[in-house]
């Protein structure tokens, strides 16, 4: 018997295209979903496990910080903005404070700058540890979560020891860092310099952070299942990422050393020896790996900074009531999630005329519809998680 291959192929194509074709199903992932890090909603059009189209719906947490900033004074805004990306609250304050300082043309004392830098890097470690905690969880592994959070606690304890706040330090003041506060009934206005023992504790904590990085690497990096789930998944080319405004580790994982710590001069990073971590493929795995490596680099910077911290005042001379002169400035900083910037327009008042907040996660997840096209349902979670966003940072 001669088999007519064309005939067979034709029949099978009919079978595939007519009988096996099913109507699309709309699958809601979020807003109340275990892996959306808060209230993000993805409206996915799926066919079985395959995703055709994803529409992110955001705004469930929109708090209108840009409007709120217009009715607040500068110190009050500092207290607000560390709630934007609450995982690295401290780092949010820096670009805003620097923006105001640039308009006021204030020179910040060295020691204050070093303290800012140390705490910013600690915030970066805390933020990346949260990512390292939650990402394996999204792939089903629960244990790295606890290892990473265990060490993050140490870092947060240190931040709390200095600033009094774990998540929302509100420690920066225009002209320096928080100079004083009610110190106690017997010793009233005291200096808020680093508490005694901070350097040794920090050194010990950085040791622990480095060792948990090794542990996480053992647990996650060598794991064949993780590799199978992340290698080659959600590849993000540099040009596409840049056109969407993707920044931070997400862009560096695609191969460009785009690190604002090297580019901008908001803190004295040029005095420190650290590597800008990049990876080549831009897939989920690389994004995970870049963040792990950045923890190590951040720990390196912190250790260098505590070794080289100068003594001196914590605060430049500023008027008691802060009024920022007329002008406009955009200051951006390398936050753990990416480029965080404040466009500050002042009309000379106690508060800004307009404050545009450029948050990293907002641009980072705007790429979701592009990057999630045609993936499988489990990959939605793998890719979404690898972008490392915080809903407060998205919705502002």
């Amino acid at each position: 018997m001669v088999i007519d291959h064309d005939q067979v192929r034709h029949l099978s194509e009919v079978a595939v295209s007519v009988e096996l074709e099913t109507p699309e199903m709309t699958l809601n992932i979020g807003p109340q979903h275990p892996s959306t890090h808060g209230v993000l909603r993805l409206v996915a059009t799926v066919d079985g496990e395959r995703v055709f189209d994803v529409k992110p719906v955001i705004g469930y947490m929109h708090r209108g910080y840009e409007k709120l900033a217009e009715v607040r004074t500068y110190p009050q805004i500092t207290a607000l903005i560390n709630r934007i990306d609450w995982v690295s609250g401290y780092a949010n304050e820096i670009p805003f404070i620097v923006a105001a300082e640039r308009l006021m043309e204030i020179e910040v004392p060295e020691r204050a700058q070093y303290i800012r830098l140390i705490l910013t890097e600690m915030a970066r470690i805390a933020s990346h540890l949260v990512f390292n905690a939650s990402y394996p969880l999204e792939l089903g592994a629960a244990t790295p979560l606890f290892f990473a959070l265990r060490e993050r606690e140490r870092v947060l304890d240190l931040i709390e020891g200095v600033t009094g706040g774990r998540f929302h330090p509100n420690f920066n003041r225009i002209g320096g860092v928080k100079p004083n506060a009610g110190g106690g009934p017997t010793q009233r206005k005291v200096s808020q310099d680093l508490p005694k023992g901070f350097f040794e504790e920090t050194r010990a904590a950085m040791e622990r952070v480095l060792s948990v990085c090794d542990e996480l690497e053992d647990l996650v990096a060598g794991n064949e299942i993780i590799l199978a789930r992340t290698k080659g998944i959600g590849v993000l080319p540099v040009e596409v990422g840049a056109a969407y405004g993707v920044s931070g580790p997400n862009l560096r994982a695609s191969g460009v050393p785009f690190d604002l710590r090297r580019i901008e001069s908001y803190l004295p990073y040029d005095r420190f020896d650290f590597d800008v971590v990049t990876a080549q493929n831009g897939d989920c795995w690389d994004r995970w790996w870049v963040r792990l490596e950045e923890i190590r680099q951040a720990a390196r910077i912190v250790i260098q900074a505590i070794d080289g911290i100068p003594s001196g005042p914590l605060q430049a001379k500023v008027p008691r009531v802060i009024k920022v002169p007329q002008g406009e400035v955009y200051v951006r900083a390398e936050n753990p999630k990416g480029e965080m910037g404040y466009h500050l327009i002042s009309e000379g008042g106690q508060g800004p005329y307009r404050l545009k907040i450029r948050s990293a996660s907002y641009s980072n997840i705007s790429i979701l519809p592009h990057i999630l096209e045609g993936v499988l349902v489990p990959d939605i979670i793998a890719i979404m998680g690898s972008l490392d966003f915080v809903l407060g940072d998205v919705d502002r």
């Binding site: 705004g59 840049a242 785009f258 090297r262 400035v329 008042g349 307009r354 592009h370």
Partner: protein
């Protein structure tokens, strides 16, 4: 160190070159380069920036409502012409960043969309549209981004009142006596 970037002059030159190429005006202050173009040449200017100057990184897009009619906050210091200023920051991956600016009519702001140039402008334009009432022509899906469907008004317009501040009296108004210290400003509530 934190007050000004080290390469101010280089930035000045860069901004001037771009301004010349797109037919706009360059202003550099405090390390921030701003190029002001007309609304008609908006997309052309950004296309030039992207293609000729390699500014392929889309940082952000937003707007400013310049008006003296303010419901909350302070009005501009010395009055202003009523307009909506659209700002768009684009850069390259070596670290240069230029903010493009254009002025739109205050009551009926319209501007060509940047989405064909920078896909990342999608969400930023949607946000600007709902917050300021700007119409971006050619935007694929100009729906609300943050606000619920059917929300009336444009919250970031200066004339939009802040409800939470309207419904609750300011606790600071209660005054026992004038305790103002010399360097204390007037008790004008900075927020009301």
């Amino acid at each position: 160190m934190t007050t000004s970037p080290s390469d101010v002059t280089e930035l000045d030159a860069f901004a001037a070159t771009i301004a010349e190429a797109v037919g706009g005006e360059a202003r550099v202050a405090h390390g921030t380069a701003k190029v002001i173009v007309s609304a008609e040449t908006w997309t052309e200017a950004l296309a030039t920036a992207r293609d000729t100057f390699g500014l392929g990184y889309f940082s952000w897009l937003s707007a400013v409502d310049w008006t003296s009619d303010v419901a909350v906050g302070d009005p501009p210091a010395e009055g202003t012409s009523e307009r909506i200023e659209v700002l768009c920051a684009v850069g390259d991956l070596d670290g240069r960043l230029v903010i493009f600016s254009t002025d739109l009519d205050h009551d009926e702001p319209r501007l060509a969309s940047l989405v064909p140039l920078y896909p990342g402008a999608n969400w930023h334009e949607r946000e600007a549209a709902e917050m300021f009432g700007i119409v971006f022509e050619g935007h694929p899906q100009l729906e609300h981004l943050y606000l619920p469907e059917g929300f009336v008004g444009h919250p970031l317009r200066k004339s939009f009142p802040l409800l939470s501040r309207e419904v609750k009296p300011w606790p600071g108004t209660v005054d026992v006596e004038d305790m103002r210290t010399p360097d204390e400003p007037s008790t004008e509530n900075p927020e009301a």
